[in-house]
Amino acid sequence: MRNSAKRSRTSSRLILYIILFSSLITVFTTAGQLYFEYTEDVNTLNNNIDNVKTGYREGITNAVWLDDKKQLSAILSGVNAWPDINYVEVRIGSDVYASSGKKMTQDIIKSSFLLHYEYDNKLLAIGETVVEANLAAIYGHLVNRLWVLLGSNAIKTFFVALFMYFLFDRLVFRRLGQIFEFARHHDIQNLTSRIDVDKIRGHKTDDEISLIANALNEMQEHLSASLNELLSVKTTLDLSPDTILMCYPGSYQFFYANTGAVKLLGYSAEELLEMTPLDICPDLNVASFNRLLSLESEDTEKAIRFESRFVDKNGGFIPVQLILQYLDPQDEAYRFVFIARDISERKKNELMLLKSLEDANAANEAKSKFMMSMSHELRTPLNAIIGFSQLLEFDAYSLTPDQNMAVKDIHHGGKHLLKLVDDILDLSKVESDNIALSFDVMDPVSLIHECVKSVATMAEMKAIRLDNEIVDVLLPKIKIDKTRFKQILINLLSNAIKYNEKEGVVKLSYELRENALIRFKISDTGYGIKLAQQSNVFTAFNRLGHEGSEIDGTGIGLNLTKRLVELMGGVIGFESTEGKGSEFWIDFFYQ
């Protein structure tokens, strides 16, 4: 019923539009035809006037020339008898010499011609004839034609409208009605039905309405597929062990809660859909929650991850890892998604780990204190050993060669042990934060020179060439602890000499880098570091495979150097190729 009513409304509107448009066209065509006929009538009238001019000019001229008013009146009466010519007059100068007919003031066409007479070899203008034609007859004719044309066109319009209605009803409205019924009874739960608009007509067509029906059928199929996909996704979401909650901004009320949420919080799904994030998250209040949402809204690409607590239906707290994600789906209202994972177990493990760390730190501190006190206790006897062995060396001539060799070994062993103790002491200070640094802003060039000078003897002993490129240059000042800077450089230079081939090269250079950084580079042509060992370069007590070699070393120099560099705000690094050598560098900010 509703369908037919709608169809009827549409068809009525169509008929109305057809009638209106046809009427408009009728009016225009009628106007055009009338104008055409008017033009033709006026042309005929003008032709009549022209004929009058041609036919009567001579007679009128002669009558005027002869001053024969009687003859002239007869001629003018003849002119006046022409169809639609209502008045004719002959003027001499401004005076009306003779006239015929009734003069009118409106709806006339006026035409005039001069009367010339050849006299005494001259052409004289002896007067003017004015002919007036009445348009009333033409107008009357046009009015009659108007009614005839309008009447015939109206009948045509009526039959065309009737035919169009029949045609549209058959071809369009009935089939559209079918589509309407199909759309009206469309049920998302039942997407298997299909529409066939050609059933009415009994044969297949491929017009637009059939195409719409086909498109609807295809849409139905796609809808069915999409619905299945959605249901699958929903099931996945529902069954997820994680808690998934969704809410719209504004009310914050959840509009989705999965099974995981129900299980974790103990509320039913219906209960959860009455709640907001503030009801289940005691760590959040309105202000903090708004701040969080606004933060997330600013960068929708990135989810906010944080740890918090949920309170379940029984009032128990559940530690959770929360992911808050802002979603702005196209053509839908934007929303916030909360994904929460119960981290109770992880929290327990973390607590245990923390405890272990604290214990380890305490042990490390005890170790450092022990090392410090031990180092201090060792330094006193070692200084005595070194001092006395040095005295014995000075008095070498009183010793036998074997004794002299033994004293040298004692002295060398003592110095090595002292270095080891000093390094361990420094390392302990660093680890226990007991090292005191005294920063100064200074020119590094002179310090570098001193460092190079102090390792020169060592280099000479291995016939190693020291190339210091940081000479006679003006470098920016850096803020450093002078003693520790020298300690770092000497350590790196010593390593470069120690782990170099005989007659090798050690090069010291610099580079000004971006962000106000100056890089000091110490490169050698030594053995290099194996790739596998490069990750342990800065690990304490690791000599990278040189443990059994003749090269002296404790394995804590680079570790200590790294810590000192970092304490002064610098960065240390290296590049090394086994068999070719290494390059260590340190970066400091310059002033």
Binding site: W65, D67, Y119, D120
Partner: protein, 249 residues
Amino acid sequence: MKQSIVSRNFRFLIFYSLTGIILSIASAQAATQLTLNSGTAEPFITKEGGGFYGEIVKELFSRLEIDAKVIRLPSSRSVINANQGIDAGVIARTKGFEKKYKNLIRVPGSIVSFKFVAYSLDKKIDVTDWDSFKPYSVGMIRGWRIYEKNVVNAKKITMVTGPEQLFKLLMNGRSDLILFEYYRGSWWNKHLNAKAHLIGSPIAEKEMFLYMNKKHAALIPQLAKALEDMKKDGTYQRIKDQTLTRFLK
């Protein structure tokens, strides 16, 4: 001395300029032929512009050293043309004509005297005044006012459109008398061999004059003088004899 030479040269310049102007006006007058018209017909004016009026005008204007001719026109047209200045003048019209046609000026001195007479085939008929037409059927040309006004109680009045019709009316016995002008009547009588007789003496007589358009008003005194001279020296009579009187025989 120098001043007198300049003054003399200036005088010469003035003299030659004035002489040039006068000569150019005179030659312009001589070169331009004036056209006059007449609304009548033979014997006063022939189709070729000859006849009494043609000769009179030629002589009259030649005395003023002006070339002039006369063209024969329908009566109404002749007056219109003269009044509008299309033609220089009209010959010959009755006195008082200038009251109706304001652009025309009469030249003093009559050109000719029109005699209004009656013709009949019957010699016995005699008329002496306007009332004596009463017992007769009379024919006259439409538009001749003198007849239309005075001959009102004739036994029968027949109006015709021209002289030929008038004489044929008489010749066919459809009228006892016809009324016409003396000189023209004599010409038509002879021309149609109508054998009509002049009845009695003229019933009326009117002096006819030359009228000039006011554009030529300056010529009028000279024309009047020349006409008077022509009458005095016999030229006028000679022309009249040659062109009018011979038809009376």
